[in-house]
């Protein structure tokens, strides 16, 4: 087991080195200091912020410095636009709002999609299955942005206007469990509706695949009812691909739902990064993307290791 974990870790070292290399090169194609300060900047100012961040040093030196900072989590670099705020502070402040949306959304989406997929697979080939699957494809064909715009209109404007009672906020965020439904429930619901089409189709395909296996035939032969086959035999075995799917989406939780955060003004990681990109806040963009990638890779490795724990055959490959 340990050797497998070590192999996975070692395998991802060159990948991470590559990400940081490409990222730093891409961000230096346009002079970051110049892009931030604009055309009318004085040369002394440009020189000053370049020196502060070490942009005037050789590329390799900057490369090692960034890698060292990320690995030791020494994120004291100051943001260019949020005066005095360190990147590490911005990161730790924005991670909670992001998770407050993505985690409930993942749970809700998975639960609902698995139920619909079961129903659909149960009525496989009949009108109920066909119409559910058509609905899923229809839902997948509408833009994410349209869901957000209409979701906000219906949930935050129309509902408030018609009932005279503000159930959902138009935007914004306050920490604390008591404030969660007011600020976060609407984005969570929207995100669930958007993701449902994809997930339902995937889970249905898994169930249909599972229903063709030998053990189902055996169960049928021994006289088990269709319902028992569905919920006891099949669901249990379908859990492996289902869990794999959920685990592979875990890394995306960190990023948060950038679009929802931007639209609903939720100060999560996605929105912080988006604003940093817009305002040419170079240190924040560089460190945020580097950290995202690191977390992404780490959670991938975690998924692999957990998977190997469950299914020992994986370790050998």
């Amino acid at each position: 087991m340990w050797s497998y974990t070590a192999r996975r870790l070692l395998y991802n070292v060159p990948v991470y080195l590559g990400i940081v290399l490409l990222l730093m090169a891409a961000l230096r194609i346009n002079d970051p200091a110049y892009a931030h300060l604009g055309k009318n900047a004085r040369p002394e100012d440009l020189e000053e912020i370049r020196q502060k961040l070490g942009l005037d040093r050789p590329f390799l030196e900057q490369y090692w410095a960034l890698l060292r900072d990320v690995f030791t989590l020494n994120l004291g670099v100051k943001s260019w636009t949020n005066e005095g705020l360190s990147v590490g502070r911005m990161l730790s402040e924005s991670i909670k709002p992001s998770l407050a949306i993505t985690v409930p959304a993942l749970v809700l989406t998975s639960a609902i999609s698995i139920c619909i997929a079961l129903v659909s697979a149960f009525f496989r080939g009949r009108a109920a299955d066909k119409s559910l699957m058509f609905l899923a494809v229809l839902g997948m064909s509408v833009s994410f942005l349209v869901y957000i715009v209409f979701g906000q209109y219906l949930g935050a404007y129309l509902l408030t206007r018609e009932t005279g009672y503000g159930v959902f906020a138009i935007g914004g965020y306050e920490p604390g469990l008591a404030n969660w439904p007011y600020y976060c429930l609407l984005p969570v619901l929207i995100s669930t509706i958007v993701a449902m089409g994809y997930d339902t189709r995937f889970y249905r395909a898994v169930m249909v695949e599972e229903s063709g296996r030998d053990y189902i035939v055996t169960a049928k032969a021994k006289g088990a009812s269709k319902r028992k086959i569905m919920f006891v035999h099949m669901l249990k075995n379908a859990m492996i691909p289902i869990i794999t799917r959920i685990m592979t989406t875990l890394p995306f939780l960190i990023m948060g739902s950038l679009l929802l955060e931007v639209y609903f003004n939720i100060p999560g990681m996605g929105r912080v990064l988006y604003k940093a990109i817009q305002e040419q806040d170079f240190p924040v963009v560089q460190v945020f993307v580097a950290i995202f990638a690191a977390l992404f890779i780490l959670s991938n490795i975690l998924t692999d290791v957990l998977y190997a724990l469950v299914d020992p055959r994986v370790r050998l490959s």
Binding site: V15, S141, V142, S143, L259
Partner: protein, 399 residues
């Protein structure tokens, strides 16, 4: 290679696809969009026509008059703009040149026009005097009078001009009085252009890299796997944003000026090649163990020849499936990029339209967002159905 590709087009998968009625319907729909795109390329509607003001702001579609308040606003817009022409330093010239889409002012003397305008203003004042009770029958009658008075100021279009006006107003106008229908049709071209270019290039890069990795193995394989692991370890939306932002910087300014869609293409191509690459690599690894490839090697064909003429053509079905999926990806990602302010600029696109419509929705005006969504929905739905059918026909084991 000719033999192989003929086999692909007449093989079992193709027969299965042809029998799939949904898939054929989807292909027909895609054909209609391609025809629309061609029409736009031929200049109907032209680039100027989609930027031109044809009516007051947010005119509802289907020639509906809308609420009484809206009718008053719209009347005020007409009267104000005509008044500006009448009061200008050279009224005769201004009146002759006054245009609102295909509408032009009646060709009478400025004095005559001014008296008709005064008449219309009087009707306007009479109607707006009833503002407190604007929905009453009396007020409606006043509003009808006002509309007649305004109609008397314009030459009513006939023939081709009337048809043009019909098309311009069929689905209403946006916040700058531009025709929503024409903009949505023009966007079909932009969408097809973005979809075809980015999906084609991404599939090409992915297939070549994936096939090379799968076929040659060794360090080529390691390099390609490293490359796509690297790219796929950055969340795709971050990747899109970073690439689009870099392409909008000074370093690429001269290129972007000549090709405004370059940042969009670059972002999509660089993030979309990963999935075809992965799939093709796996397929080629399987194919190269097959007898026909070994037979080709035994005959003494070179490795490049086997790869290009015998292995890659046999992954054609994957290219089709991936093209279809990436086309959808490109159209949907365009909307997201446009919302983030990094997408299409200068020309209309469905993403730009949906993004502009945000504020209108809060005022209860749904024509723009509805039209853009409808146009997009039909095309994406057709491609979704087609991708499913392609997958069923050529790659049935895929989950």
């Amino acid at each position: 290679m000719r033999e192989r590709s003929r086999k692909f087009l007449s093989g079992r998968g193709m027969r299965k696809l042809r029998r799939d009625r949904m898939a054929m319907a989807a292909l027909a729909v895609i054909g209609v969009y391609l025809a629309l795109a061609l029409l736009v390329l031929l200049g109907v509607p032209s680039e100027d026509a989609v930027q031109e003001r044809v009516a007051p702001d947010n005119t509802p579609g289907f020639f509906a008059r809308g609420t009484a308040e809206r009718r008053l606003d719209s009347a005020q817009f007409h009267l104000d703009s005509i008044q500006r022409s009448v009061r200008s330093s050279d009224p005769a010239k201004a009146i002759a040149e006054h245009r609102l889409g295909t509408l032009q002012l009646v060709q009478v003397s400025p004095e005559e026009l001014e008296s008709r305008l005064t008449e219309a203003w009087r009707a306007f004042d009479a109607a707006s005097a009833l503002e407190d009770d604007i929905e009453s029958p009396a007020a409606t009658a006043r509003l009808d009078e006002l509309d007649t008075a305004i109609d008397a100021l314009y030459v009513q279009p006939t023939g081709f001009a009337a048809a043009t006006r019909f098309a311009q107003l069929a689905l209403g106008t946006d916040r700058q009085g531009r025709s929503i229908l024409l903009r949505a049709v023009y966007s079909a071209k932009v969408a097809v252009q973005i979809g075809v270019v980015s999906a084609l290039i991404a599939v090409l890069i992915g297939t070549l890299l994936g096939a090379a990795a799968g076929y040659f193995g060794g360090w080529v394989d390691h390099l390609v796997v490293w490359l796509y692991s690297t790219f796929s370890s950055i969340p795709w939306i971050v990747l899109l944003m970073v690439i689009a932002t870099v392409c909008r910087g000074d370093a690429f300014a001269p290129l972007v000026e000549r090709m405004p869609l370059l940042p969009v293409y670059a972002a999509f191509c660089l993030s979309f090649w990963i999935s075809p690459c992965r799939v093709v690599r796996g397929e080629v690894m399987k194919l190269k163990e097959l007898e026909y490839v070994q037979a080709a090697a035994a005959v003494g064909f070179g490795r490049m020849r086997i790869l290009l003429r015998h292995v890659i053509p046999n992954t054609a079905h994957l290219a089709f499936i991936n093209f279809s999926l990436l086309f959808i990806g490109a159209i949907k990602a365009e909307v997201i990029l446009s919302f983030l302010g990094l997408g299409v600029q200068g020309t209309p696109s469905w993403g730009v339209m949906i993004n502009h419509a945000k504020a209108e929705v809060l005022n209860g005006f749904f024509w723009q967002i509805g039209t853009a969504t409808g146009f997009m929905l039909v095309l994406v739905l057709a491609f979704n159905v087609l991708s499913d059918a392609l997958q069923d026909a050529f790659d049935p084991k895929h989950v």
